[in-house]
Symmetry: C2
C-alpha cells in the first residue's frame, strides 16, 4: 500500500579494509514496502549501533546475518506497527527486532517481539534491557564471578557495556576500576558512574598505572578491547583471576598480527578466560539479567547514558564513531519520534 | 659423618638471557653433608629435568623456590636414605623430594615422601606418577573436559606430558591429534603412542594441516607451547572449545613480544581457556589421577617413554635440550644405580 512520503534506506556497499569508513554505506530512496500475508509494516523509531556490526559486514560466522555488499544494512531496532497482516500483531504496538537501517520495513510478524511501551525512553529496550545490559550482567556474573572485596577491571568503561559492568561490580561489593580513552571519558566514569578509579589508556604507562591502582592484583577483568589494553592488564592479574572476554575491538580493524608481551600471565596466575557472546547465553540467564537490571534502574541504583543522533542518515557516522573512540554510553540513532 | 668418595654438585651461576645455555651452570666438588637432628642424608638416584626450571631460574613467582645465581640447582628427585636423624625415616627407604642437583644431600625428614620401591624403574615416580602424569590427567580431565567422539589436539606431543594427554584422550573415546617438532617425533607419536595423527610444526602450513586433519574443528586443545603453535590452532577451534593451558615453552626464552593473528577466535568461538599448574591442584584430584594412571599402566594400556642420561654432569645439557626440541618422553638423569 502506497503512503505519503517515500521510504529511505542505508545499503552496505563496500567491504571495509582496516578502518571502517562512511564510504562503506550509501543512503538512498527506496520503494515503500507492502506487507505480504503474515507480515507487518513497521515504522522505525530507534536503531541500535553496535561494534558487532563491523564483523557482520565481514561475514564473521555467528554474528547475526552475514552481510554481503549491496544488502540493506541490518540492525536491531525499535519500531511501531503501522499495518498488520499478522494475526498476533496490532497497529500501534511497539516491537523489537532486526528492523534494518530504513524508515519503513515489511517483516514477518513472528520475527518481532512486542516490548513494554511504558518504558521511556523506548531506546532502553536496545541498551539497558537489550544486548548491552544483558551482556554486562551475564559476563560479569557468570564468567567474572566477582566476590565482595575483589577488584574488577573493565575496558571501554565509558561504553554501553563497560559502564554497566563497573556499576554492577560495585553493587556486588567489589572495587571497580575502568579503563577508557581520554580524560573526558575517565572523568565521566568516576564522577557520573561512581567507579573507584578510571585509567586513560591513551596516556603512557597503563600497565604501571594499573599496578598502582590495584596493588593487590586484579581478580576479574571484563575485556571489551583486547590488544594493547589486554596486554597491560595481564601482568596485573591476581592468582586465580577470571577474564570475561566480551569484545576485542582492537582486533576487528587489524589487518596484521598483534603483539603481546604478557600472555604468559594466563599460565603463571592460573587464569580462567571465557569468550562469550550474548546470543549463545541461555534464556533463563538473560531473563535473570533483565529482571535485576530493571530493579536496580527503577531503584535509582544504576546510571545509564545514551548518545543519540537524529535521523537515519546519521547511522553510518555513528557506527564509524564506535571505532574512533568518540562514543560515550549506548549509541542510538533516533529515526522518528515515538508516537502515543 | 665423613664418607668414602666426595660429594659433587651443580650450581646455577648465570641468569639466562634468551636461549638457555650450559654456561648457566657449574659442576664442582662439594663437602659431604652431615645431617643435623631431624634431617636425613640421602644419596640421589634419579633427577627430574623439567621446563619449569628455566622459569625458576628467572625467579618467576610460584615456580618452586626461586633460584638466585650461586645457589645449588634445585630439582625434584628420587633418593635413597643412607643415614637418618629423623624418627620417621629409615635407612634404605626410597624417597621423593626437592633433592637438588647433587650426589648427596642432607634434608629435613618431613620434606621427603617415601615412595613404593617395588615400582620399576623408580624414575616412574618422577614421570608417569609424578608431575607430568598428574598434569596430563588433571589438565585434560578437569580443564579439557573431553567428551567421546571429540577431537583433542596436544602440542609437544612427544614430550612427557603431551604423550600421555593423547593416550588418555583415546582411552576416553576421543580422536587424538599431536603436534610435534620433526618427522621422527611425529612418527613416534603415531606409531608408538597410537595417536590418530601428528603434525610437524616445523613444516610449513600448520594451520592448514590442522584444518585438513580436523575438518569438524578442535573441541579440546591441551597447550604446552603457546606462541606460533597456539596461533595456528586458534582458528581451528570449534564453537565452545576448551583450552587447557599447561605450558608456554615458546614464551620462556622470548625477550620481546610475540605476535598473534588469531586470538579473536577465543571470542568468536566462545572458548574457555584455563591456565593451570599442578602445584595448585587439589590433593584429591592428584590422587584420582595417580590411581587411574597406574591402573592403565599396569593393564598395558599406556605407553611411557623416558630419555635417560647417566651421571650428574649430564643434567645441564639435559635441561638445555628441553628447549632445543631434542627431547622425546620424560627427561631423566640417572645419578646413581638404585640399590636393593
Amino acid at each position: 500500500m502506497a503512503r505519503g512520503g517515500g521510504n529511505r534506506q542505508v545499503r552496505y556497499v563496500r567491504r571495509p579494509v582496516g578502518r571502517l569508513e562512511e564510504s562503506s554505506f550509501a543512503i538512498e530512496d527506496a520503494p515503500m514496502p507492502s506487507p505480504a500475508e503474515g507480515e507487518v509494516l513497521v515504522r522505525t523509531l530507534f536503531l541500535s549501533v553496535d561494534p558487532y556490526m563491523r564483523r557482520q559486514m565481514l561475514g564473521t560466522k555467528g554474528y547475526a546475518v552475514p552481510l554481503r555488499e549491496g544488502d540493506v544494512m541490518q540492525g536491531r531496532g525499535i519500531a511501531e506497527v503501522v499495518e498488520s497482516r499478522h494475526p498476533a500483531r496490532r497497529v500501534g504496538e511497539v516491537v523489537f527486532g532486526e528492523i534494518g537501517w530504513r524508515l519503513y520495513a515489511a517483516l514477518p510478524g513472528e520475527a518481532l517481539r512486542p516490548v513494554d511501551r511504558s518504558v521511556r525512553p523506548l531506546s532502553l529496550h536496545l541498551g539497558l534491557l537489550g544486548a548491552p545490559g544483558l551482556t554486562a550482567w551475564v559476563g560479569l556474573t557468570d564468567h567474572g564471578r566477582p566476590q565482595p572485596g575483589e577488584t574488577v577491571v573493565v575496558s571501554a568503561a565509558a561504553g554501553a557495556v563497560g559502564s554497566l559492568v563497573g556499576q554492577i561490580a560495585r553493587l556486588r561489593g567489589c572495587r571497580a576500576i575502568g579503563i577508557a580513552g581520554g580524560a573526558e571519558k575517565c572523568a565521566h566514569v568516576v564522577r557520573d558512574l561512581g567507579f573507584d578509579a578510571c585509567l586513560d589508556h591513551r596516556a603512557e604507562g597503563l600497565e604501571e598505572a594499573l599496578r598502582h591502582a590495584a596493588p593487590g592484583g586484579v581478580q576479574v577483568y571484563f575485556d571489551n578491547v583486547g590488544g594493547a589494553v589486554l596486554d597491560a592488564v595481564l601482568p596485573n592479574l591476581a592468582m586465580g583471576a577470571r577474564i570475561a572476554l566480551c569484545g576485542m575491538i582492537a582486533h576487528y580493524n587489524a589487518t596484521g598480527p598483534i603483539a603481546f608481551r604478557h600472555l604468559q600471565s594466563l599460565l603463571d596466575n592460573c587464569v580462567t578466560l571465557a569468550g562469550f557472546r550474548i546470543g549463545f547465553v541461555a534464556p533463563e540467564r538473560r531473563a535473570a539479567a533483565a529482571a535485576e537490571l530493571l530493579d536496580w534502574f527503577r531503584a535509582g541504583r544504576l546510571r545509564w547514558r545514551e548518545t543519540v543522533s537524529d535521523g537515519l542518515e546519521t547511522a553510518p557516522a555513528a557506527l564509524v564513531g564506535l571505532f574512533d573512540g568518540a562514543n560515550i554510553g549506548k549509541r542510538i540513532v533516533r529515526v522518528a519520534p515515538a508516537g502515543g
